[in-house]
Subunit: 311 residues, 2 copies
Amino acid sequence: MTSPMAMQAVENVMLNVINSDVKTLRDASHHILEAGGKRVRPRLLMAAYEALGGTDIEYAAPVAGAVELVHTASVVHDDINDHGVVRRGRPSVNAIWGRTFALLTGDFLFTKVYELMAPYKDLNIVLAEATVALVEGETLQASAVKEKNFTRQVYYEIIARKTAALFKAAGILGARLANAEEKVVEALGNFGFNVGLAFQIVDDVLDLTADSVQLGKTSGIDLAQGRGYAAAYATNGEANGGLAVAEAVEVEDDPMKTIKQKLLKGDAIAEAHLQAEQLVASAVAYLDVLPESEGKRQLIELANLVVNRDH
Amino acid sequence: MTSPMAMQAVENVMLNVINSDVKTLRDASHHILEAGGKRVRPRLLMAAYEALGGTDIEYAAPVAGAVELVHTASVVHDDINDHGVVRRGRPSVNAIWGRTFALLTGDFLFTKVYELMAPYKDLNIVLAEATVALVEGETLQASAVKEKNFTRQVYYEIIARKTAALFKAAGILGARLANAEEKVVEALGNFGFNVGLAFQIVDDVLDLTADSVQLGKTSGIDLAQGRGYAAAYATNGEANGGLAVAEAVEVEDDPMKTIKQKLLKGDAIAEAHLQAEQLVASAVAYLDVLPESEGKRQLIELANLVVNRDH
């Protein structure tokens, strides 16, 4: 995996930039950041950078930190909308500081992203567009829940934007920081995109099968809101999404019990896992443009870890 | 005032950039933007640009649009926290689309800011820092309400960050876009800062004295939450803020009646208006570095309009 020095540099950048003199913002930001998290996006960025010959960790770390702050900000806001009370094994910002301060903490983190990115000129647009996609994906998801329209196609569109776009940006940014040629930048973007899709599918499956302690966040929220891969997969690919609608309705009446049992019985979980594995295989194939190296090996390891995890 | 062509260019930039293919984000963003608003921040930026010899409206307009989007995003989030139901004479985003979509619309607008700013290299940090200050100011305000600590000093700190910092950024950005020398950039920043303070003081007074129809937003919310210039001024400058605490408590019990009557009887309103006028005079004095010109006249006119308005 990425060098511990690289990841420590990313942590330092993030912890430094959130040191506002406004106590609540400082405390809440430290709370969510110091809870850890998998740091998979900045790992991907730093691994891509190193795989392409980049050696200036101090130069790349602020961009990796910015990518993780986008994710962290979205998580803080997500917990407001979902009433999530546990996140990364700790009470959510929302649960401790309340909605108003959680909203402002998310805004603060979103804004700190651009303070970090300001020196990086042409890279700004990459992260800005990925962040727009993330917000659009979250919005599509909230709309799908409201309209009870959870087909596989809608699910794919949602996770492509809310998760895979930022993974793609991490790949592109790592490559661009290393001054890679355009063909390689594209390959790393495609690698990130496919890893991101796989990551979200596994996340949604874990949300169904793992408990809160293992996950470190309120389990079943995603399903309870009628979202999640398994719910979409339970349509067994029916284009009209008839079953998906039925699921969503049922979910609202009885969030966990019925659906969870139903999904765990069927082939949906296994099918989802298979798809995630296929996506990781596609992702790894994009790395064919790179010569063998320790860095390439790290990227492949990271991609495989995304599907082989229990939290 | 700024040329109609300049302000039309700013409108076009904003309306273009928010055209997401996600319907809710597009509709909600159009709803809040097309309601109008005073556009005082982009006006200040464009007037500063023109006053300093800038002529390329298409070059300056996206930055002015970005400044207005920061303000608009903060307004959308503010209405979530304050339960505001009227904004710019229309139902708030929150009132129409609900909290989840309002939160995401605010995030969307905050992010579009950086899509607009991406080409402007070194100017990015100016707006990023002003946006951080804005979020910090909102947080200080929410903390002051919670802790019932509304002294004049706290009030000043709040409005300096939540409002004046963005006005200052508008002045700086307008000047930097026109390639003004550092001394002039600073002067325009100070002009903006003082105009911003005056603007917020007048806003808070209007929140007390005008009704909702005139204001175009839910009147009395600011006061009901124990904030606002008048509440702080009712301490008559007492450093211990004893009276301010009493006010805040009372406000919670009976939001409008008692306090409004009390404040309108005393000298607080007149005193606040006097201070706003003094701030505008200070602001205008910073323009002494500029030779007389139509642009300078426009900046002075804009500063005076900030205090002489009824909504």
